[in-house]
Subunit: 435 residues, 4 copies
């Protein structure tokens, strides 16, 4: 979960009923979408924690609700009744200022409260949010700001819910499918990659508009970009298979030192969720165990692997600023790109004057470490704990994945993970210098 | 799970319809009892693994069923249809000879097969067992032997199911109760302990009768017992509180070296499941979080703690042979002693010419390491894997606990755990030399 | 050890005898200086490895010698006799392409070869280097390039030798001194800090001259610097004591999340080597255990601590580009600043129109992650393994410390360590935005 | 280090000058022998700790000296001057009652005090012991008792010194020899094993005479032994090679469960210090790396391996009581059997009416857990800390090894180690039931 310094702060047009209605609609649509995501799951599926990095579905559903209860309702709805005092302990994620909390690695032990009770909690909070929105206080710009944060926060957990369920199902010998694959797999070859040239120069980076953004997307500032080339599409499974067959996982000189020791310690031989069978390479996905599809973007690779692949290919990863530069000029309609399946999609053929697959397939590892922008200050108070506190030892990913909810992607968005982590829908796009 | 060399082997009186009927009755009663134990639990409670030593309820229910399927039905029921081929991988516990299996620490990830499907598995197997018992093959002494093992095996898992649920609920900040405590807690003081003298001499140890026993209870053999004294009742919570207040957990000289390093590393200050509150000491139990009851036997202590307590008290633990000697002469009616609650009970007042609380309160740590009896040989084949393979670094416990099912206790029974383990219902009884 | 792409490559003026003589002088002076650093130590002090990050003195002395043998003599001196074939295994550090090697954490087990034998190895190699320099081959620009690398490599290990000896002596309850403190400790208060303003703009970063530099200092390139302020001196022990007394180590909101978990796991309460006694705070140093000196720069702090301190002070750390900008304009005479003791020195009073203590006191944590400069390519071959392979998860430090040898510091130098490491002579200087 | 309750306590014949002289002679001979054992080592060899279980030679030399200083001189020599107050912290092993101490895993960091200073410490203490023995107090039975303990304690550390040096040299890629092998290796086949029958019955176990013994060898008591067979010699390397070639290390059914997981986790394929080369199997020893000698007893195996081998051979290990029974009736002259090399020796051919190789080759794993004898009480006070505190989770070894000093072996001696440990000179002898 990460926080914001909305540029809309204290400027909410209370006279603008339309804006308010849209916020309200998005709020309840988001709340409803979480339930839809959980619908294919049993209470058993929803309680278990696949690994320390992941959380149970039930925990996600409760935590985002606790967020609204704690940051919105307790403060702004007179007479709000706390649903259950024990939930602050159970469902606080990492807000040091909000008291002790259930240890993260033990979230999967919470068989109680039951899934049913968590759903009741959600209904209780939704009802209170409805009530709040009908009050004067509920129309304030401060409430609007907090609701906006809560919506975006819940959207982030919607993506985590899916990645965590995949981790859980992948650990199950029965290899269950979260949802059936809706069509026939297309095993044809990928489109050839084309290289786009960018001239560089002084570039404005970071969020500038009134729209929602997290605090770490600002302050907007200028940076100097050197000329670079960028691939018009993501690296594919077909290309990754070449890397494997060329002993990429066994060649020390391709790897960062930390990556090389991780590869050997963890015995990595392929992306996470890949397994070699007598019938060839298969990949566990939210649609179950399916053959590796050549033209699909590779997913579930770590930064170490992305970096090694780029070196093997004689290229490099783009910086987050190069990526943002390309995204700002691509003219892509983000809302239309989200996949209809929970699986990244092959790049469409056709004109190649701008990068494809910027949003909606996989998060794209950048060459940039996750650091504050010049002049960055985290917001005050508990709500402003954090994005900032993770600014060390992680790498920035840009774009959005097939698990990212609609409306939660933009060119300035900064995602971040440790270089060894690979349970996310993360892949890569290549870049290079201009010769 | 542990195995047997039934002395009844190949001697089953097939002409004895009464014996056969009793076996059949006990079989289905045992199968039914497992379901009764799971009845208070939700599917969520049944899927989670509290810690590596524990298993989920659902796993217990399926594993004991797999045992009947694998060792009885596959071999002896013509045309038996395997319920699900994947279950051999999922529900094998540790039989090296029966192929690869799901890793023990990951049993809690098996959200699928669902609890419903495991119940269907049980029904399928129970039906097949009914069918088997109506065939000629089902009346053989070999089938009787295997069913007897299966019954006893399932009984062991019934106890584990309860101890593992307690571990799970104790880790939950809501401190749920598996069942409500049926009466008012009796906080009166314990009966004073009385000391019983035993003369020692050559004593026959181990199982001799036709009744069921595990392989590790034999061969029956003679051993030389030196004169000893034995307490007529178990060590109580009241006495343990004195040990705590006398800084027992902070006094190095009372502890085995391994125990002392464990106490410090784990920061033990009291038995597992005890916690100090402003209202005094409480203890998590299957009835929820309740005050520590002075006259109840202490439970959930490790061997290290039991040994340190005995040293503090100027006594020692009895050897398993001393314990068995006392049990054989106590004349206790085992079937009547099992508690009506899932909590050890205070010793009854009254005559003290034999030890009380031998069975049905807590397992009792002995001073004996878990080793083979002279001439011990494990049975052949997979069914005969094990009891033997655990004979190192563990200590024997004798008796039976409040979680042990009716009919599963006897004076020659040898339970065993590592000296640091304390999630079992384990306590102690003191012994000493004759002055 | 880190590598270079000397801009002098293939351009060595073989006709320039003076340059050649200077190189030769510096080579043998450097070789001699390593022996001088080891002189106060016994063979026992020289063999032990204080911790995994550190290496034994004997290993340092042999490894730098192996470097000359392997990269210079084997390739360029006809008839060179390898001193001992086993040494390639023993004293290779991490060159994957040069075959298997003794595991790093076990360097301290090499009681043999003895210190005497390592000294003989050094003499053997020095003699061969003399011989090489009298040949034609020894006058080539390629040999000059390699010798320059070897000199700089040995200088890096000279600093490590001192930091590792300090780690060893600090772990010794006798708190031995590597050398006595040559004068009386000055316990007076530090000079007040003054703030210097920098206007920012397009700035050229990285090494441009013909002088020696490591590969990671280039390519030289332009970057955009925003206006900033920089403290004219380092943070002092006196200021650090205020941080401690203000519960800096116990205030979650000051810390990066990774830092906070490290502080708690490692139970950090002060910089490494500090200990509180009844007589106040003391600090283990190469001069033994001495009182903490208020005006001295704080040393042996991690990036986590440096970052938390800056946040506590309402400031931030400078980026490595800001630091380089300031260093380039400071006009400091680097060669004159090295301390006469192995302890950072208080800032001198006087004019404050440029930053003090840039070189020769402590390495200074920057806010920049250690990443490649635009267009960076590592040199080819084993000699060009590395600097590049460490470019993830580490932070850049700038400047030079009191343990850095004379002649081994410059404004473009990039040192790097993991954010938790603190056995180096590492401190900090504060920066901030222009208001 | 282990402690005693000498049966000679308070009964020392002060009028018996001869006894006193013998004690004095043995004391200084033992002190001198430690120096002789260290003579082949450099100060570098003496300071390093090969692994956590091992200690540096220098530490052994100092610790046994500290023992005399602390338990004898401080208490019984008026005006004794403590050599260095810091040494109590440095060289206390594990006496909880004697204050804090240097952590065991960090003993190898003590480069200071130097080896020279430790030798000076030894001389200082030896001189004081001489002085003590010339006083009246020095002739008391209490001093005699303590000196006897000190002698035996130092002898134990003499064996550890050798085993720990072997561990250190084995970790060195140069494979140094502690001493050259004095003769040609005899690669002939072992003598065939012969089986000796023992009738069993009531047997007195434990120490009964006036001679020195540790507390854990008593109280003497009767036990009931069942009839058994015992091999007349130790298991040889030739037999162990058969076990390896028969895939003994890869056959789960041969192993205890803890052993099997250890074999797999540690990837054991042979005894410790064995390595397979193109020229066949070699074994690191105190004589350097030498071919495995077929007729020599196997050494450096764990209890897990010994137990698995016995199962593979269709036999078992003897109990410690069976072993003692055989040793008591063997009529072996212990003092004559110690090897002239630091390597176990092949069994001599010839008459086979009693077991060979009882003492002086390898310690022999027994099937008995290390537990107190009936009525055992540890002595009071710090000197009486311990043997008792290790009585859990370990197995008894009987006999003595080629590294055990002369005069330190007897039929009742109980050595003990954890079942996974194998850096000791430990092997095995087979036993079985009478058919």
């Amino acid at each position: 979960m990460r926080q914001t310094s909305s540029s809309a702060e204290n400027r909410r047009p209370t006279d603008n009923q339309q804006t308010f209605d849209r916020l309200s609609d998005r709020l309840f649509a988001t709340r409803q979408h979480s339930l839809a995501l959980a619908a294919p799951l049993t209470p058993e599926d929803m309680v278990v924690q696949a690994m320390e990095d992941a959380s149970p579905t039930k925990w996600h559903l409760a935590h985002v609700t606790w967020f609204f209860e704690n940051f919105v309702l307790k403060r702004h709805l007179d007479g709000y009744r706390i649903f259950d005092d024990a939930f602050n302990y159970c469902f606080n994620s990492y807000y040091e200022t909000l008291g002790p909390r259930h240890p993260r690695p033990k979230r999967g032990l919470l068989t109680q409260p039951s899934a049913d009770r968590v759903l009741a909690y959600r209904a209780h909070v939704d009802e209170a949010l409805h009530a709040l929105l009908s009050t004067d206080a509920g129309q304030s710009s401060e409430v609007a700001r907090l609701l906006e944060i809560g919506i975006n926060h819940e959207q982030q957990h919607q993506e985590l819910l899916l990645t965590d369920i995949l981790a859980l199902f992948a650990a199950n010998p029965l290899k269950p499918a979260y949802q059936p694959y809706p069509s026939k797999l297309d095993l044809s070859a990928p489109q050839p990659v084309r290289w786009l040239d960018y001239a560089g120069g002084i570039q404005r980076i970071g969020h500038t508009s009134d729209g929602y953004h997290w605090d770490n997307e600002g302050p907007s500032h200028e940076t100097l970009i050197h000329p670079f080339k960028l691939a018009d599409r993501l690296v594919t499974n077909a290309e990754w298979l070449e890397f494997i067959e060329d002993k990429g996982y066994g060649t020390a000189s391709l790897w960062l030192a930390d990556g090389w020791s991780t590869v050997n310690r963890e015995e990595w031989q392929a992306p996470l969720y890949w397994q070699k069978t007598e019938a060839g390479w298969f990949q566990m996905s939210l649609h179950g165990l399916l053959p590796v599809v050549p033209a699909e973007p590779v997913a579930h690779v770590s930064y170490y692997e992305a970096d090694a692949f780029a070196r093997w290919a004689g290229k490099r990863l783009p910086t987050e600023f190069e990526w943002e530069t390309a995204a700002l000029t691509s003219g892509v309609d983000r809302e239309s790109v989200h996949a209809t399946t929970l699986r990244p999609q092959p790049a469409a053929p056709g004109k190649a004057d701008s990068p494809k697959q910027l949003f909606g397939d996989v998060w794209q590892w950048s060459a940039s470490a996750y650091l504050p922008y010049p002049g960055y200050k985290p917001p005050a108070g508990a709500i402003g704990e954090y994005n900032g506190k993770f600014m060390v030892s992680q790498q920035v990913l840009r774009g959005a994945s097939c698990a990212t909810p609609q409306g939660h992607s933009r060119p300035t968005y900064r995602n971040f993970f440790y270089p060894h982590q690979r349970w996310q829908f993360a892949g890569l796009r290549l870049a290079s210098e201009i010769d």
